[in-house]
Every structure is written in structure tokens, then in C-alpha cells.
Subunit: 99 residues, 2 copies
Amino acid sequence: MKEQEVITEEQKKIARFAKAMGHPVRVYVLEKLSKQSCCYSGDLSEILPIAKSTLSQHLKELKSAGLIQGETEPPKIRYCLNQQNWDLAKKNFENLFGE
Amino acid sequence: MKEQEVITEEQKKIARFAKAMGHPVRVYVLEKLSKQSCCYSGDLSEILPIAKSTLSQHLKELKSAGLIQGETEPPKIRYCLNQQNWDLAKKNFENLFGE
DNA sequence: ATCTTTGTTCGTTAATTTGCGAACAAAGGT
DNA sequence: ACCTTTGTTCGCAAATTAACGAACAAAGAT
């Protein structure tokens, strides 16, 4: 045990992404977005068996991890992947798993 | 909202793996094991700035997610990746991120 | 000005997670 | 028998997460 920094920024980043992906609903959302570029939160709300407030929190979590982004398009909000961070996450995981 | 199952087993599996990877210490351990096949928990304990009981819990979490395994080799325990599940996790993440 | 639609935020509750030190267990060494 | 080493488990406290319904906010439609 020591006080020096032994955990890299990349490892922290991976952990941050992984944590955000650590719930089935959030994986579902990410997978959907990776397949169809965008969707409205209402679409998800109709399909997923959770309260819309709960869904909203999951989306918030994905947003704060930087994996998705939402563009307001009244009265709806269109969600897409944050392509830049999605690519970064992909790269980070590839590094971890080794090609 | 409905009652039918909309989330696949694979999505649940990804979430389970991701959750286990959702902490910097656990990412550190996984990365180390992916590079050097095996290590003793004591090696980790010397390097990581956390109590050994805390480390033990992180290892337990990785074990219960199926990502690592520990072979007792008294008085130490040798930890390795659970290669089968590691490969599965890799595949699952590749599917999610898309090649 | 009011209504409708769409999401977010608030307040609460229950469950889980993180972290520590102390106590315990296993097993070889003295 | 006892000591040492190595980890795990226990008991606890603090923080975070997950979930819900109710209340609120934004903005176009009537």
C-alpha cells in the first residue's frame, strides 16, 4: 500500500464507461442507438417496463458518462450516441481486451 | 411500458460484466491479469493504496462476475483471468461496439 | 390564455456499494 | 504446540444507486 498514483487515467476512464454500462436498461439503450443512430426517449419509454422518471435517470447517467447526447426538438428530445466518446470507449475496451 | 421481456440475456450479461468492470481498482486488476497471465493478491495489495480487506472484496466481485478465478496455492492464492468468460465478455463488447 | 405532449426534477424508500479495522481461518515453518 | 504469513469474513458507517409517483417545466397547438 502506498500513496502514489498507480491507477492510470485510462483505467479510470474505462471504469467510468463500464459503470455507465453496468445496468441492463442502459445496455439496451446503447445497443439500440448503436443500431439506429437515434431515437426518442418516448420510444424507449413505450417499450421498457420502467417508469419514465426512472428511464430519465438512466439516460442522465449515460449522458453524464458522455456516451450519449440529447438534442432538444420540441416537444421531444432526440437521443444519439456521443460518437466521439463511443469510439473512445470502444478503443479503450479493445485495449483492455487485447485486439 | 409493458410486462414482456424486452431485454435480452446478452444485454444482461454485458451489464453484469460492465458492472464488475465499473471500478478503477477492478479495471487495474483485470488489465494486469490480461498482461501477465497470473498474479498473487499480495502483489496487488503492495501496490494498490487500499486495505487488503477492500481488495479482497474487489477480487470477490470479479470472481462472482466470472471474470477471474483464484487457485489456492498455500499460503497464497494465485489469481488468473477466467479465460472462457473473458473471451465471452470480449465478444459481447465487440458485438455492442460493432467490430 | 389554456391545453397537451414530452421529459425532467423532487422527495422518498429500499437496496447495494465502498471502505476500513478487527477478528478469524488455513496451512506451512520453528 | 505455537508463530507467521496470507487472505477472507464480520460488523459497521457513509455514500451511491434504483425505483416510483407526484409535481414541475418547456413549447407547440387550440
